[in-house]
């Protein structure tokens, strides 16, 4: 598999990590994504996507401090790396360029 590829769900998660800058951890990503997408997502799907992104080097992670609402467990925060930013930019560029090519036909 191409290391630079990005699945649709991975892309969404990566975008969310970027958007939540410094506050991005599993539950936060989940809640924001569910809100935006208006559908239910399972936390384990987020975990898998995050791990893949980390393996590809698009995000990196660190542990936060101990919090009460998790029964003393630390949060794992994710931030986007430069590589992650680059791949998002490329993805965005490709999409807009193709989108521009759509002939001006009325679809209504």
């Amino acid at each position: 598999m191409n290391d630079q590829s990005l699945g649709e769900f991975e892309e969404l998660v990566l975008l969310m990590v970027a958007a939540l800058h410094d506050e991005a951890y599993g539950v936060a990503i989940l809640q924001h994504l569910e809100e935006k997408l208006d559908r239910k997502i399972n936390i384990s799907a987020i975990h898998v996507a995050l791990k893949r992104l980390e393996n590809k080097g698009f995000v990196h992670s660190r542990f936060g401090g101990i919090t009460k609402d998790r029964g003393g467990r630390r949060k794992k925060f994710y931030v986007m790396t430069a590589a992650g930013k680059k791949v998002l930019d490329r993805q965005y560029a490709i999409r807009t360029s193709i989108y521009k090519d759509i002939p001006n036909i009325s679809f209504s």
């Binding site: 539950v27 989940l30 609402d69 998790r70 949060k75 794992k76």
Partner: protein
């Protein structure tokens, strides 16, 4: 309690999850739990568990630790196993294939036997369903068991015994025709049955109600297929057929085809309304002095047949005259026993056609026994070969021991490796079964599903067989190992002589069993061949039989005979009441010289004057019928057997009383014909009497056509002629030799199964011998070298190696021959015409095994014997 996340979920998560991911995953899931707890604690707990389950993913799983010493050992065993596999590929292939073939045969046989035993047991009330068998004892005939019962028996049983929930009666009389507009269907898969049958057996009714009332003499229930053929659709309940056995008839219900493991496959069920029958028939169906109906009984729950029997005596007395009472004694035969336990029961009258011919337990156990023979041979083989292999590995074993392996570990290795081999052979055997499955269905004459192999009832046998083979074959070499002394191990060939006796006796047993199977299959094959090629007394090739199914065909039979004769393909045509190899009842006429004498019971054929020529039955003395109806009507022809039994010195011109059910007439014998077989060769030829066609007892039921060539065109021609004279009935044409084949079909499939099993057993045994001789020659390499240097010839060497095995073969012949002789004689005694067991059968079997066994090893021995002795001496 509800405040905290469920403990079990947490524990499970902590158990499977990688440490590095655990904190994040657990933290997130717990946080979500607390968030959703606000809404509903119960839901939150459920949601928590769901999340844990969803996190149970491959990427999150802890990887098994590989630094465990047991795991290390196992991976080392595996490695060694496959290295040896590569080094001794021949040995492994032989070993695995032999075992897999044995297992495959066993699996086939298990499926076959399982299916045989399950026939008719699929009905929801199977355990309470019985069929009534009449036991008739007469002075002349002795005791007979009949499926056909007195006509009113079923009704009387139901009204007189409170333990009987329901009864049904059924009967059958030849072929029938169903007509709807232009479509006509003629088949034999129908039955006339009273309504009760729908309460006893489960029919899969798609629409309609078979129990409802109807107009006319009978209603009918059709299968979907028949309905489709007749109407082009299946929603035909309430429709009326234009023609049938009972004229216009209403379709009461449509059902699905019956399951394939049912003895009967009814496609059309007529339901009679006896009160609408003509008076004559009503009288017939209520007469106790008849035997025309098969009776089915459904007992109430908790009632046993014995409870019914206690009142049987008074029941019989109530309905039967003293004089026929003994003829109509009855008992109940469980439905599930019919297929395998009714060989002694005759139809004794008309009976619906069986979709699956009856078999018997003896055959099923014989086949099962053979399956175990084969697997036994394969297992012995395997045990032998693997113990030999284990001996070759003493060096490896000693190295392991010196490095600190315990005896238990050495034995454990053996068990581990054997398990590997057994599992590989198991997979291979399943593959063999899958590949040969269609072929097997053909041979066994069954159509069951592959998944049967893994059915709950059979999988136990798989596991059991494999466990036994596994444990025993690992155990024997393990015995040697555990007795080892460390110092001895380093020496090579520390055990070269050990276990030789045991191995040889195992080979001996193998050969006894194979010999046994080979002798059996040769004899069975010869007998069947004998039966099929025996001179029947007439020529049954090139004969076509056309059923007469209607009055109009019967009346214009002379025209039909003449019409069919016009074709250049046809040599001769005849009409008769029965044909040899008949599948309905064989009617009887009693012959006697004086009326008050004990009569000779002869089979009665009503024929025309073309009959002898058509069948090419030889007339020994006298002359044939003339074809002039007036002259012929009081003349008869009899066969040699009848002459013998009537003790006629001068048969021609003798006057004989011919007693039929209707009356007694004195007739003159005008000719004697050669004996011909009219039943299977299980039966002796009985006396036969031929009367001319215009008697009033037997109506003509068949045309027989002898054709010279082109059967297809002949059939077309017969159909045309039939259509001219009898436009309402489709022609029903059969090849006579195919009817004859029916007698031996069951035997054929049996002998095929036996043949295959014995071929496989020989191959397996040959495999074993190959492995053993391979081992022996390898062992004796040095000895052979020295002998050659001293001047031994190649023949000497070959003799040296196979001498022992020759002796083994001879011993096994001596042991197996008498047992085989005894068993086969028993089997042959069922046939009225049989081959004799001559010594050449045994000699032939011996040679077959000898040739097959030694041809597999000869090249190997020859190579060693021819090799340069210098290499041999430097070996090791």
């Amino acid at each position: 309690m509800l405040d905290l996340p469920p403990r079990i979920g947490l524990r499970f998560l902590r158990w499977f999850c990688k440490d590095e991911f655990l904190e994040e995953i657990e933290g997130d899931i717990v946080e979500l739990f607390y968030l959703s707890r606000e809404e509903s604690p119960r839901k939150a707990r459920f949601f928590f568990l769901w999340n844990v389950l969803r996190s149970f993913r491959w990427t999150n799983l802890k990887k098994t630790q590989t630094d465990n010493s047991n795991m290390n050992l196992l991976s080392n065993y595996t490695k060694i196993y496959f290295r040896r596999f590569r080094k001794e590929t021949t040995h492994f292939i032989v070993n695995i294939f032999g075992l897999a073939m044995g297992l495959a045969i066993l699996f086939f046989i298990l499926m076959f036997v399982y299916d045989e035993q399950k026939i008719d047991s699929f009905y929801s009330k199977s355990e309470r369903i019985y069929r009534v068998v009449e036991k008739s004892t007469t002075e002349e005939d002795g005791t007979h068991h009949y499926f056909c019962n007195a006509n009113p028996l079923g009704e009387a049983l139901k009204s007189d015994f409170s333990g009987i929930e329901e009864t049904a009666r059924m009967t059958y009389f030849g072929s029938h025709v169903l007509v709807k507009d232009e479509v006509r269907i003629a088949d034999r898969d129908w039955v006339l049955a009273t309504k009760g049958i729908f309460k006893i057996l489960d029919f899969d009714i798609v629409s309609g109600d078979p129990l409802k009332d109807f107009q006319g003499q009978a209603g009918i229930v059709l299968t979907e297929d028949v309905a489709k053929n007749l109407f082009g659709r299946t929603d035909v309940v309430g429709e009326v057929l234009d023609g049938s056995r009972f004229g216009k008839i209403e379709v009461l219900a449509v059902m699905r085809s019956m399951p394939r493991n049912s003895t009967y496959q009814f496609k059309e069920i007529y339901i009679p309304n006896f009160s609408q029958f003509s008076e004559r028939f009503q009288r017939f169906f209520s007469s106790w002095d008849t035997r025309f109906m098969h009776t089915w009984v459904l007992l109430k729950e908790g009632t046993s047949p014995e409870e019914i029997y206690t009142q049987k005596e008074s029941f019989l007395e109530k309905y039967l005259d003293a004089e026929i009472k003994a003829e109509h004694d009855f008992y109940f035969l469980p439905l599930t026993d019919i297929h395998l336990g009714a060989t002694n029961v005759e139809n004794g009258g008309p009976g619906p056609l069986l979709a699956i011919p009856l078999s018997d337990r003896q055959f099923v156990s014989m086949i099962l026994l053979m399956g175990f023979f084969v697997i036994f041979i394969a297992a012995l083989n395997y045990i032998n070969l693997s113990s030999v292999q284990a001996l070759k590995r003493t060096l490896e074993a000693s190295m392991r021991k010196i490095n600190g392996a315990t005896n238990r570990q050495l034995v454990g290795q053996l068990f581990f490796e054997t398990l590997f081999t057994v599992l590989i052979s198991y997979v291979l055997s399943i593959a063999i079964v899958a590949i040969l499955f269609p072929f097997f269905q053909e041979i066994a004459n069954k159509d069951f599903h592959f998944s049967l192999l893994f059915s709950f009832d059979l999988i136990g046998y798989h596991l059991f067989t494999m466990a036994v083979i596994w444990i025993v074959s690992a155990f024997l070499p393990a015995l040697y190992y555990s007795k080892l002394k460390r110092s001895l191990l380093i020496l090579k060939n520390a055990f070269s002589g050990k276990g030789d006796m045991l191995r040889k006796s195992l080979v001996g047993i193998q050969y006894i069993l194979s010999m046994f199977l080979v002798i059996g299959s040769i004899v069975i094959y010869r007998q069947l061949n004998f039966v099929q090629s025996k001179d029947l007394g007439f020529d049954n090739n090139n004969l076509l039989v056309l059923d007469i199914n209607s009055g109009s065909a019967r009346q214009s039979f002379k025209n039909i005979v003449d019409g069919i004769k016009k074709s250049p393909d046809v040599i001769n045509v005849s009409a008769s009441s029965r044909v040899p190899g008949e599948w309905k009842d064989l009617p009887v006429a009693n012959l006697s010289l004086n009326l008050n004498e004990d009569p000779v019971e002869a089979n009665h054929y009503a024929v025309d004057h073309y009959w002898l020529d058509t069948y090419q039955i030889e007339l020994i003395t006298g002359h044939n019928f003339t074809g002039l109806d007036q002259t012929d009507s009081l003349h008869i022809l009899i066969n040699e057997q009848a002459v013998k039994m009537l003790a006629l010195d001068e048969p021609i011109g003798a006057n004989v009383w011919v007693n039929t059910r209707r009356d007694s007439v004195r007739m003159k014998v005008i000719g004697v014909i050669e004996d011909f077989h009219f039943e299977s060769l299980y039966e002796l030829i009985g006396p036969v009497v031929l009367t001319t066609w215009n008697n009033h007892v037997r109506s003509l039921d068949y045309f027989t056509v002898r054709y010279a060539q082109n059967p297809q065109r002949t059939i077309g021609h017969i159909e045309d002629v039939n259509a001219t004279f009898d436009p309402d009935t489709p022609a029903e044409i059969n090849f006579l030799d195919m009817q004859w084949e029916r007698f031996y079909r069951a035997e054929k499939s049996r002998s095929m199964i036996i043949l295959i099993a014995s071929v496989v057993s020989i191959i397996i045994s040959a495999f074993g011998l190959f492995g053993l001789i391979n081992f022996t020659t390898e062992r004796k390499t040095k000895e052979i070298g020295i002998r050659k240097v001293m001047g031994a010839t190649i023949l000497n060497i070959i003799y040296l190696i196979i001498r022992d095995y020759m002796i083994l073969l001879l011993i096994s012949l001596v042991i197996s021959a008498p047992v085989a002789y005894w068993l086969l004689n028993d089997w042959l005694s069922d046939f009225a015409y049989r081959i004799n067991l001559s010594p050449d059968v045994f000699l032939f079997a011996f040679l077959v095994i000898l040739v097959i066994s030694f041809s597999t090893v000869l090249s190997r021995i020859f190579k060693i014997a021819k090799a340069n002795p210098v290499h041999a001496i430097r070996y090791e």
